[in-house]
């Protein structure tokens, strides 16, 4: 039976870039464990020789010509959606190396 410890939940949250308060760690480890125990049922299905399904359209290798096309949105429109400062048509983010 899958059982997520508080440390497991802290690790998953870190991978997912989420901060959890201590009481949230408790709450989520209970909830996520109950979900994982519920989906455990899948382990009982015999899938030997069964191919996985990733998509159902039957389409494969959909190509288009590599041509420049006009779009509704301009670069300026898209930049204006950012909540961060725009400097010379670039978004200024917090530093990756700390300030």
């Amino acid at each position: 039976m899958a059982n997520l410890s508080n440390d497991d939940v802290r690790h998953i949250a870190k991978l997912a870039r989420l901060h959890l308060r201590e009481e949230e760690v408790e709450k989520f480890s209970k909830e996520l464990t109950s979900i994982l125990q519920y989906v455990e049922k899948l382990q009982t299905v015999d899938t030997k020789g069964v191919e996985p399904t990733a998509q159902v359209t039957g389409l494969a290798n959909v190509f288009r010509k590599d041509e420049v096309q006009e779009s509704d949105a301009t670069a300026a429109d898209l930049l204006s959606c950012s909540p961060l400062p725009i400097i010379e048509k670039q978004i200024q983010t917090p530093s990756a190396h700390g300030s």
Binding site: Y38, V50, T53, P83
Partner: protein, 485 residues
């Protein structure tokens, strides 16, 4: 008749014969929203002025060649419309109003036909839920009993359509999000074959399962909207070039010698007695129309929900990665570096259900667990799809309930995510298989709550299930009943 209560087909006739104007139609919907929406909470963004302006232009022109010209509708708040705020009912986009710079293909096609967008409807946050209770704007209430939920995730679209706040609405269906709220609110709703409609410009939840479709007041209206929005879109490479038929033409013709299957796995312990009775009763209507109904088996049905709750969160964890507070959405002032910024934006922006799915998905896709969870789920998905392939060798279409009970009360599944997931027990298999399925009203419970019948067909066979639903609807007229509000 009050104009906002009309179906699209009826309103089109009246517009064409100049009995009403598009501006009157739009105004009637606006008045209805202003009167009712304080109670229902179905509409989260109002774009009334623009709709009225466009309606007046259409009236001046006076040409109503397309059945959607001058028809007002509402869109689930995950569709992008240029210049109109889009929030997915999430604080990650709401706190700094995200205003898209482009239109979704679907709303663009509707606009080209002359349909008028009145605004946005409530949904579970990023469509993750079965009750609209995870919306940052609060729950949408069922027009038939406001102590109950409208369903979800397209609960706002279904409640607004049922309450005549619009003539039709757009929704998305990943694991039942159109069919279940349509069922709870007494509307008709269609989940299309995956790839039949374009997902471009609609916020993704689970990309291998997401579909775009209409919620309407009649099957004929579903056909009208579908033939307008369906078809290949170069901007969504998963759309197919299978030709789009004239769905309205396909409606008549009846059901003589059609074979319908009723899967025994869709009648389970704990389901509402009235739901079971109403769905079983539909057999009589089909048989008197010349069809036969036989019991069939879809043996992997019990694995559908667990399969869905691996595949869906896995794709969610990937899709939600884009909400990083850089290109759009919520921001925060006091991050010490970029990683801290990501953490803060996402922690403040996402609600609990989104966080749960991101974490389940992150876990299921992580090294050492991928084969046991995601890959195994994809294999079971194959088996679920095969069940349908086998069934459709024997029968033309499958009929079943949409969900085990009518609308549940607000808060009924608080603190129990698995109980909420089980609401999807009859509506996720079709998503796994990528087949079309719709919900059409088939009766009422003792509490006077709507009950829907689900009709499923083979891939690309929307025509067939619409024809069956139309024959049923015309024989019973359940769809004409309106909530007393």
């Amino acid at each position: 008749m009050v104009p906002n209560t009309l179906t699209i087909a009826e309103a089109h006739e009246q517009l064409k014969s100049k009995k009403i104007s598009s501006a009157e139609l739009v105004q009637a919907c606006i008045d209805r929203i202003e009167k009712m929406d304080g109670t229902l909470n179905a509409v989260v963004c109002r774009n009334f002025e623009r709709a009225l302006e466009e309606a007046k232009k259409i009236d001046t022109k006076g040409e109503f060649t397309h059945p959607l010209t001058g028809i007002p509708y509402l869109t689930k708040d995950v569709f992008c419309e240029k210049g109109v705020p889009a929030t997915a009912c999430s604080n990650v986009l709401r706190r700094k109003d995200y205003v898209p710079a482009f239109d979704s293909t679907t709303t663009k096609r509707l606009k080209a036909a002359g349909a008028l967008s009145l605004g946005k409807t409530n949904t579970d946050e990023f469509t993750m839920g079965a009750s609209t209770e995870t919306s940052c704007y609060g729950v949408t209430r069922c027009p038939w009993d406001t102590k109950r939920v409208a369903g979800g995730s397209s609960g706002g679209s279904a409640a607004a359509t049922a309450a005549d706040e619009c003539l039709f609405a757009l929704g998305t269906d990943t694991g039942g999000s159109i069919r279940q709220p349509a069922n709870f609110c007494g509307c008709t709703g269609l989940r299309v074959t995956y790839g039949r409609t374009s997902r471009y410009g609609v916020m993704s939840m689970a990309s291998s399962l997401d579909t775009i479709g209409p919620i309407c007041k009649s099957i004929e209206d579903i056909a009208i909207v579908l033939e307008t929005i369906a078809g290949r879109d170069p901007l969504d490479a998963t759309t197919s070039d299978v030709p789009v038929p004239n769905y309205r033409q396909a409606l008549s013709g009846g059901m003589k010698s059609m074979k319908l299957g009723m899967p025994k796995e869709y009648f389970i312990k704990g389901m509402h007695r009235d739901t079971e009775a109403a769905v079983r009763d539909t057999t009589k209507v089909f048989e008197s129309a010349g069809a036969t109904v036989e019991e069939i088996s879809l043996p992997h049905t019990e694995y559908a929900v667990p399969t869905y709750y691996i595949i869906c969160p896995s794709e969610v964890s990937s899709n939600m990665a884009r909400y990083d507070g850089i290109r759009y959405g919520h921001t925060t002032g006091d991050a010490k570096d970029l990683i801290d910024y990501y953490h803060k934006v996402r922690t403040e922006g996402f609600g609990n259900e989104v966080k749960r799915r991101i974490m389940i998905g992150t876990y299921a896709l992580s090294a050492g667990y991928y084969d046991a969870y995601y890959r195994q789920a994809q294999k079971v998905r194959t088996l679920i799809k095969r069940d349908f392939d086998e069934a459709f060798k024997r029968v033309d279409a499958i009929i079943a309930p949409v969900s085990p009970t009518p609308a549940f009360t607000v808060g009924a599944h608080e603190n129990d995510p698995v109980a909420m997931y089980l609401e999807d027990v009859f509506s996720v298999s079709q998503a796994m298989a990528g087949i079309p399925a719709l919900s059409v009203p088939c009766g009422f419970s003792k509490e006077d709550l709507p009950i829907g019948l689900q009709i499923m067909g083979p891939q690309w066979q929307e025509e067939r299930i619409l024809k069956i639903a139309y024959a049923y609807e015309q024989a019973t007229k359940w769809h004409e009943r309106k909530p007393k509000l």
